[in-house]
Symmetry: C2
Subunit: 181 residues, 2 copies
């Protein structure tokens, strides 16, 4: 590993724990991400000094997140892995997986809590707060879904506009109300 790659890999290892993934998984991903060619488990285990079985588990985890893809090399029985190199694609995948793993379970918990009949004043207040949380998460979940469908270029354009979108919104608001009158 070159010093450049080493510092990238180390950073992802440390960051991993702030996310839900552990150090090993973070490092494996970083290594695959910057590698010019697909890597096999043995190469990864060797480079990072982890046991073969630990790497096997890490790769399973990364596959479950759809962050790495399995490749086959002609005339080689081993499994090779590479990562999509397009940052947008990675972001989409991550957003989608997180929605599935974090937002959806929370939404369903909130929905069933909101169906309960509050048994006291305390529960009434609790439900109000939960309603606010539910509505926001649902809104964001749907938004993700919509945005997921935009192509990278449009998405980038939108982001670069940033707060200026507000101006656009005001403008269309005026057009609408203008047409009504």
């Amino acid at each position: 590993m070159t010093p450049l790659v080493h510092s990238f890999v180390a950073h992802f290892g440390e960051m991993g724990s702030r996310w839900g993934i552990n150090r090993t998984v973070g490092q494996i991903y970083a290594l695959i991400f910057v590698s010019p060619k697909p890597l096999c488990a043995d190469e990864i285990a060797e480079t990072l000094s982890y046991s073969r079985s630990n790497v096997s588990m890490g790769l399973k985890e990364l596959q479950s997140w759809r962050l790495v893809k399995l490749r086959h090399v002609a005339g080689d029985r081993r499994e090779y892995f590479d990562a999509p190199s397009d940052a947008w694609e990675i972001f989409r995948t991550l957003a989608e997986e997180r929605r599935r793993r974090e937002m959806e379970p929370t939404l369903s918990m909130l929905r069933s809590a909101l169906l309960e009949t509050p048994s006291c004043e305390e529960d009434k207040v609790a439900q109000e707060r939960m309603k606010g949380m539910h509505d926001l998460i649902e809104l964001m979940s749907n938004w993700f879904d919509d945005v997921q469908r935009l192509d990278a270029q449009t998405l980038a354009k939108l982001m670069r506009m940033g707060a200026r979108v507000q101006k656009l919104l005001e403008l269309t608001g005026q057009l609408k109300s203008g047409s009504k009158e």
Copy 2:
């Protein structure tokens, strides 16, 4: 704790670990969030059956995330805590803190990696990938910054528009190119 509150608290405890926070911290937050009045550390420790010192640490953590606010009750020396109940405000705070804790360190690591002179072909490829990641994170970071300044109402409107924003963008694109010709 009523059964309703209990299930909410339990869910946050479990979810906590998918985030970077632990079970205790997740539960403390959930309890404060749905409580109709500010709570003091003793009440929290009692309700959740955690030691007083554990609750103290958890509250410190939540304060560092700016998810709970310290309150004082007249004629009572104890510290009471409550949580902003506006879901949008919470989302903003979280986005801001995560940017600070996750995006900024990564950006600075990437920036210094990109300043290095690549020592081999492998490093060249690595830098290309890092560049893609850097640019996306920077774009998102700036976008967060912009969006942070919009009021809740505008933000909600934007989200509800979802993918239809694209139409708006196409429209303005036409207006612009139209005015040039």
